[in-house]
Amino acid sequence: MAKFLLKRIASALLVLWIVVSLTFVLMHSIPGGPFSREKAVPPAILKNLEARYHMNDPLSKQYVDYMINVAQFDLGPTFRYEGRTVNDLIKDGLPKTATIGFLATIFALGGGLILGSIAALWHNKTPDAVATFIATIGVSVPSFVMATFLQYYLGYKLGLFPPVGWNNGAFKNLVLPALALGAFPIAQITRLMRTSMLDVLSQDYIRTAKSKGLPGYVIIGRHAMRNALLPVITYLGPFFAYILTGNFVVEFVFGIPGIGQFFVTSITNRDYSTIMGMTVLFCSLLVVFNLLVDIAYTFIDPRIKLTGQKGA
């Protein structure tokens, strides 16, 4: 296990370094910079600004300085918000995004597993049709439509929940964003669960269990569910990263002060340090979650061994 972890961490760092370097190069090669303004900044002032953010250094020096700082977990000051650092943005925003993400996870995972199982158990019957219908809507309706729809009808028309705002994380403010954020994954998980459950249910060992006279809930709960979960677990790695780093659209529409917005706005603002910071964050989270998923496999399926030939 220790050997496996070390190997994985080493490869993760390599991946991180490549991604960060690529981002650095790409970012500096797109036109415009952090001080591009409709009202042109006079040359003398531009010089002051560049000096203040060390942008007058050669790119190679900027790159080395940045790497040294990142190694010390210092992501640098943002260009967009005076006096705040990228670390501040993450510290302020990540917990909020994670809270919504956590609720969306419960909703998506709970709902998806149940809907998927129901669909498989009542294959080609009405419950299956209903579950499939819900899944299709979740997958095909874009999140900005879903978010606006929920906001307008549940928030404004029916007045069930506040249509917008964080409000110190009050639960009623979190419901709509969590639903909007979970709509896509719930559909994905339902479909995955349905397919894999159908597959498992047709296996020999389920028939054996049935013929042994085991009650239905034991067959489903102990034998079928566990095996059917594997594809869902695989999906969970990217899913968690997606949820944790937030969804720009959902946060934008519901006015959630999370970090999802910075993925998009940092690029439009050419906020170099935030672009890099978000890349580092997203990349690290993705790597960590994939690792966790790999470890989770071993608990669910004893046939999988981490130290074996199985790759990532």
Binding site: I30, P31, G32, G33, F35, S36, R37, E38, K39, A40, V41, P42, P43, A44, I45, K47, N48, L49, A51, R52, R80, Y81, E82, G83, R84, D92, G93, T148, Q151, Y152, G155, Y156, G159, P162, P163, V164, G165, W166, F252, V253, F254, G255, P257, Q261, T268, N269, R270
Partner: protein, 540 residues
């Protein structure tokens, strides 16, 4: 020009008595002692402020909040009038280059007295190269300021002199009649020296935020909301009726409007175009003047726009009324000149635009004739690669499509559309990598110079490649060197005429500010420069 304004009223005395009164002993943001009726309101300021440090901020969301939190030497009031702020009066020397401000007895939100030294400190701070303020050029009117900011001069050489704690003497580089009005602009707001020196992150949290306006900061939750409460130390506190304003920071205009309609917000701006019609019918929409012009730039260094006839033909062949009524819908005015209404002319009370008048008429037949003269009869031989560039946005796209269509129908010419992401578009415009490009300009102060100095040869905001000796002379040699409205205003009219004769730009419409506010909120004042002032507002 000799200008004296003296307004030493009883108000000062009363304010002083009030400010020393027992009310203060609690000091913090507790409920006011006499709970008449709590007046609270809310407004969606838009995006998270870049900063609320007045020397460093640049955006509109910031300006709303700062108008509540700060006060400059002057304050803009009803009818765009320059009202005494922290200065109770000022005098301008006969040659217009020395302005002396007399400060009133005013206090910071923490109770310290505001002195002339505070202004000197704040202005030099805004100008210091190390602070690197983007808007520091707003202080370039002061002698030695540009040199200091460009690292070519010293702070000592900047023409700001503290005569005594209540007298500030400012020496200008050239006569600037709008300098006094400019002291109401955020870059020229004062900051508290002791506080700023003690903590460079002072402007980031409510606890360390010291200011001098009608309101003081109670809470700033980043990307969420800023709450300000009445500042009992404000010199005119007796006229401030609101106890609290919540500035929400909702970036999605549609969501902000939904919040307004569900009663969560009392006011919001940046109304989505698709909702304007509906709100107008429901009579909730307010349309305020906004000094800005929406226009297209021509790249005069490239064929076929090096020919003035082509530029004129294209300018005359679009229907602006149709654009403002059917596309933008927000009560915008068709523009037949560059400088928008709302600027003073020679005589106070006269409008620069009204005096200047229109410079051209929409006339398809004449446009066709001009285009034929230029070698494109009925649109023949028209180059295939002429493109309108705009930054990605559905509104700009709709306008560009309308114009594309009008040119096709009226002149028989084809143009393509190209949208670019914001920073890329700015870069293309700057490097003249376009044929026709969408542009917009919002004035910084209510004087035509904020528009007319743009198109001087090589100016950073010219971006058309256009150069005109007459224009340069009127602006640089005459208008910028005189403090006499009788000299400088006619020079600006002449410059605008030169600009509109050569037409390196195609004016489309003058901006407006459509917004919504609940009927119960009264007494807000919205300057045509954009910021909303809640100082005298009340809630029923």
């Amino acid at each position: 020009m000799f200008k004296i304004r003296k307004k030493k009223s009883l108000a000062v005395a009363i304010a002083m008595v009030l400010s020393v009164s027992v009310l203060l002993t609690g000091c913090s943001s507790n409920q006011p002692a006499a709970p008449a009726k709590e007046m609270k309101t809310s407004f969606n300021a838009g995006a998270e402020p870049k900063t609320l440090d007045p020397a460093l901020s640049t955006g509109v969301p910031e300006s709303h909040i700062q108008t509540a939190l700060f006060e400059g030497l002057t304050r803009i009031g009803e009818g765009e009038k320059v009202m005494p702020g922290i200065a109770e009066s000022w005098t301008t020397s006969a040659d217009g280059t020395v302005v002396t401000f007399k400060l009133r007895d005013a206090k910071w939100s923490n109770g310290d007295a505001i002195t002339a030294e505070d202004f000197k400190y704040s202005w030099l701070r805004a100008l210091s190269p190390a602070l690197a303020s983007e808007y520091s050029y707003q202080l370039y009117y002061i002698k030695g300021a540009e040199a200091y900011n460009s690292d070519k001069g010293t702070a000592d050489a900047v023409g700001i002199k503290v005569v005594d704690p209540k007298t500030l003497e400012v020496t200008l580089a050239a006569p600037t009649p709008y300098f006094v009005a400019l002291t109401a602009f955020h870059t020229l707001y004062p900051v508290n020296k002791k506080n700023v020196d003690a903590n460079e992150k002072w402007s980031l949290t409510a606890e360390t935020f010291i200011a001098n306006g009608p309101f003081k900061m109670k809470e700033w939750k980043h990307n969420d909301q800023v709450i300000v409460v009445k500042n009992e130390n404000y010199w005119d506190a007796k006229n401030v009726k609101l106890s609290e304003i919540t500035f929400r920071l909702i970036e999605d205009n549609k969501a902000a409007l939904t919040a307004f309609e569900s009663g969560e917000l009392d006011a919001t701006e940046n109304i989505p175009t698709e909702d304007i019609e509906r709100l107008k019918t429901a009579k909730v929409l307010k349309i305020d003047p906004y000094i800005g012009t929406y226009y297209y730039r021509f790249n005069v260094t490239k064929k076929p726009f090096d020919d003035v006839k082509v530029r004129k033909a294209l300018t005359m062949a679009i229907d602006r009324k149709l654009i403002v009524e059917k596309v933008t819908k927000g009560g915008q005015q068709p523009a037949y000149a560059f400088t928008p209404p709302g600027m003073v002319d020679v005589e106070a009370g006269k409008d620069f635009r009204k005096v200047g008048g229109d410079f051209f008429k929409e006339d398809v037949a004449a446009a066709k004739a001009l285009l034929a003269e230029a070698g494109f009869p009925e649109g023949k031989n028209w180059p295939a690669d002429v493109t309108i560039l705009y930054n990605t946005s559905s509104n700009h796209k709709l306008i560009a499509e309308a114009i594309q269509n009008m040119w096709k129908t009226n002149l028989g010419i084809d143009v393509k559309l190209r949208n670019e992401e914001w920073a890329v578009y700015l870069e293309s415009q700057k490097t003249l990598n376009y044929n026709i490009s969408r542009a917009g300009w919002i004035g910084d102060y209510a004087d035509a110079m904020t528009f007319m100095d743009m198109f001087v040869t090589g100016g950073g905001n010219n971006q058309t490649g256009w150069s005109n000796a007459e224009y340069d002379k009127q602006i640089k040699e005459i208008a910028n060197k005189s403090g006499d409205q009788k000299v400088r205003v006619p020079a600006m009219h002449a410059a605008e005429k030169a600009l509109m004769t050569d037409m390196p730009i195609l004016p489309i419409y003058f901006y407006t500010n459509p917004w919504v506010i609940k009927d119960k909120v009264k007494g807000t004042y919205r300057s045509s420069l954009g910021p909303i002032d809640y100082k005298l507002a009340t809630v029923e």
